[in-house]
Amino acid sequence: MLAIAARRLVSMLLIMFVISVLLFLFFEGDKLNLAARVLGPYSPMTGRLAWLEHNGYNRPLITRYLAWIYGFMRGDWNQSAQFDAPVFDFLLPRLKNTAILGACVFVLTVAISLVLGVFSGIAEASKRDRAITVISVLTTSVPEFASATFLVAIFVYWLDWLPGSSSFNNGFSWREMILPVATLVIYNFGYYTRMTRASMAEVMNSQYIRTAVLKGLPYHQVIIRHALRNALIAPFTVMILQLNYLLSGVVVTEVFFAYDGYGKALYDAAMFGDVYLILAGAMIAVVVAVVSQFISDVGYTQLNPRIRFS
């Protein structure tokens, strides 16, 4: 357990190092464009060069990189060129917003897909199974920007029930959460449902379930006591791995609804070439990815009695 945690930690640091070096190199050629974006398209070249000098972009690459790493470790994540704020202070409330969005989506998606997946899996090839399968495949194959457009057309323009943007300008609002959460749940639940169904169907065909049924146990007890736990191992792993998606896969939805989260901030930063904000965003994404992998590994061993850390 400790060994695997250490291994993960090392690999995480390695990934962070490689990604940060690559990003640094990538934006090195874009420095002058960054100055042009900060100072505007009609700014004179002398002004741009002065800006680079004044903001320390002219120091050697290696010096800047080491300074950045040193600052990053100490919680000083540098200044965002676009938003004129410390990167850490800027990202924190946005990460919180994305965490709220991700949590709502995760809970709803898991609840819906477990129920549907189990109902689908225990009666393979039934009409119910076919109906659920068709719905899951359909919703998963519609990209977020399309379903978001449909939802807005119906609930904002036509019925006028819900607000069309979710920027929380007057503080947090559940009403503004509805459309972005719905968009993401619609896109995600089909995939989870299919995973749960496949796993459930496989378990239901196994001999110990047949034994349990033949033994005369009530059907619901067979499902809950014997089938469910074993059927959940595979979907659990997939769902935890999808946590990563809920951080970096929400860009489209956040931008669409002007939801002020991590995804929109990263999108703005990428469009602007705001290198320190992109770096910090990438580091956070790596941490979340590796940690969710670790949780998934540990959880897998806890759920599956055949695998135990020695």
Binding site: G40, S43, P44, T46, S167, N169, D260
Partner: protein, 556 residues
């Protein structure tokens, strides 16, 4: 003011009386030369019986909050602003020396009047005695002089330098060399006394070259008059001369302004809400009444805005455009007949309808807009497919020509316009392959490709773009166009202050563009914004400036 009146104002009055210039051109040029707007309107009204616009309507509703969807970028350094967004925020707090209205007429603001010498080289500005700072004290000529000098300081990096360099600055060698061994140049005032504070209320500018548009340049968006004590930095609690003070600033989220009780205006507060770059979020926010107005509408969303029962669309034609320009030094465009054939094969009105939903006006292939004061109306140049075929046949292209046009995909109307035109050209035997490049790639090759579709922004006077884009050898001459007669006429136009005489010269330039020029130009774009019907007093400006003190909102 009559004893200091510019000698050309008399000529302008004469021309208005003889109806050789329009009312609008009279107002515009008379005010530019220092005649007060009320006096100019009064004179114009005596001649043509028109009505001056009501100053401030007393029946506008008072109080309330207006929320406008607009990006909120950082605001710390107003003199380097390069977007309209940031200036729209700071404009609520700080003012300009002059103000050019939606009617293109420049009026006094922090400068209450001005005169210019007959050679257009000495401009005298009188500061408005009623202008005061929030924190007390009058706005003086020293403050104005400090702001002008700050904008013209190369270390600040303001785009004002590009406007005023010709008549206020000279190049100086820093004595340093850059990495490639080239001299590093900088600029300084052409004369130590170029900006003279005569007394606390009088500012005199001494120009090295005649310039007619100085008052207009003072309305350039970064040219905000800041409190010199704050050293060019704008922040919460910054001093200003406007109606509002800033109460909230979250870059990338929102920016809020509160009206100071005894200053002009109706609303209590003005909020700018940042909804990001996605126009559909902005439209949905307006539809669900989360905002009362939007800074600028996107043409793809035009029908959505039109479909909203509770909003009005405000639009105004500008000189923003894009042109299909042909490099006159590459085949087959080195033959003027081929270039004219491309023009004749283009249906401007249809392209406007298809690519820009009819929001704008059809162009005439000469890059001078009807909104320019010195525009000359030529007889129409309608589409003529047979004429185009004949021109091509005579030029030796009996079977038509195969060409490739480069364009970029955003804004999307540009690609749509190119597709529409390519379809129209086919009928005349001009078979154009369309090569869509990503924007950043496009801007790497825009000057060098043989055939490309390039956007050009609004410039206030008709000859300005012609001088930037079609004069022999200038940096932005992307079509390598070179025509001695054209250059000579252009120089003459630039030296002609008299608008009527200049418009006649422009007429000749326009004719050359149509007959020989390197472009086919389909349309002029309108800019538009959508506001809730409850918002009163909004008057869309061609540059999308927002003036909070003009706005009012009815209670819901």
């Amino acid at each position: 003011m009559s004893d200091t009146e510019h000698k050309l104002i008399g000529t302008l009055k004469q021309q208005l009386a003889e109806k050789t210039i329009g009312r609008r051109d009279f107002l515009r040029f008379a005010t530019l030369l220092g005649l007060g707007a009320p006096a100019a309107y009064e004179f114009a009204n005596r001649i043509d019986g028109g009505i001056a616009p009501a100053a401030y309507a007393d029946d506008l509703p008072k109080g309330g909050i207006i929320r406008i969807a607009q990006r909120v970028p950082k605001l710390d350094n107003p003199h380097t602003f390069s977007w309209i967004y940031d200036s729209n925020c700071v404009r609520q707090v700080c003012g300009y020396l002059t103000r050019t209205g939606a009617d293109n007429i420049t009026r006094p603001d922090l400068a209450s009047s001005w005169e210019v010498s007959d050679d257009l080289k000495t401009w005298t500005f009188h500061m408005n005695p009623k202008a005061t700072w929030h924190k007390g004290g009058a706005f003086t000529a020293e403050h104005a002089a400090w702001n002008i000098k700050h904008c013209l300081d190369p270390a600040v990096g303001s785009s004002v330098i590009g406007l005023m360099k010709g008549y206020m600055l000279k190049d100086v060698d820093t004595g340093k060399l850059d990495d490639k061994g080239a001299k590093v140049m900088t600029t300084e005032l052409w004369d130590a006394n170029a900006i003279e504070v005569k007394d606390p209320s009088t500012l005199v500018l001494h120009l090295q070259e005649p310039q007619v548009a100085v008052p207009e340049h003072f309305f350039h968006y970064p040219f905000l008059m800041l409190d010199p004590a704050e050293n060019g930095v704008f922040a919460m609690g910054s001093n200003g001369t406007g109606s509002f003070e800033m109460t909230v600033l979250e870059v990338g989220r929102k920016c809020e302004f509160k009206r100071i009780a005894d200053r002009p205006g109706q609303v209590d507060e003005l909020h700018f809400v940042d909804l990001g770059d996605n126009p559909s979020a902005v439209a949905a926010a307006l539809a669900s009444k989360q905002v009362d107005g939007i800074f600028q509408g996107n043409i793809e969303q035009y029908d959505i805005y039109k479909g909203m029962a509770h909003t009005d669309i405000h639009s105004i034609v500008t000189a923003q455009t894009a042109v299909a320009r042909m490099r006159s030094d590459s085949k087959p465009f080195d033959n003027p007949a081929v270039r004219k054939a491309v023009r004749l094969a283009t249906d401007c009105e249809k392209t406007l309808q298809i690519a820009h939903k009819g929001v704008g006006s059809a162009a005439e292939h000469h890059h001078v807009a009807p909104v320019h004061p010195d525009y000359f109306k030529l007889p129409p140049m309608p589409r003529d497919v047979e004429g185009a075929k004949k021109l091509l046949a005579d030029a030796g292209f009996k079977d038509g020509i195969d060409i490739e046009i480069n364009c970029k995909p955003d804004p999307s109307w540009e690609q749509a316009a190119v597709e529409a035109m390519a379809e129209q050209w086919k009928e005349a035997g001009i078979r154009a392959k369309i090569n869509v490049l990503p924007s950043n790639k496009f801007w790497e090759v825009w000057e060098t490709v043989p055939f490309g579709f390039t956007e050009w922004t609004h410039r206030p006077l008709g000859f300005m773009v012609l001088a930037l884009a079609y004069r022999t050898g200038v940096p932005w001459n992307e079509s390598a166009y070179s025509n001695k007669e054209f250059d000579d006429l252009l120089t003459k136009a630039e030296g002609t202050v008299d608008v009527k005489a200049r418009s006649e010269i422009l007429g000749k330039l326009e004719k050359i563009m149509q007959e020989d020029g390197p472009i086919a130009q389909p349309l002029w774009r309108s800019v538009f914004a959508a506001y809730d019907k409850r918002v009163k007093g909004f008057n869309i400006h061609p540059t999308l400036y927002i003036f909070g003190e003009d706005l009012a909102i009815e209670k819901a």
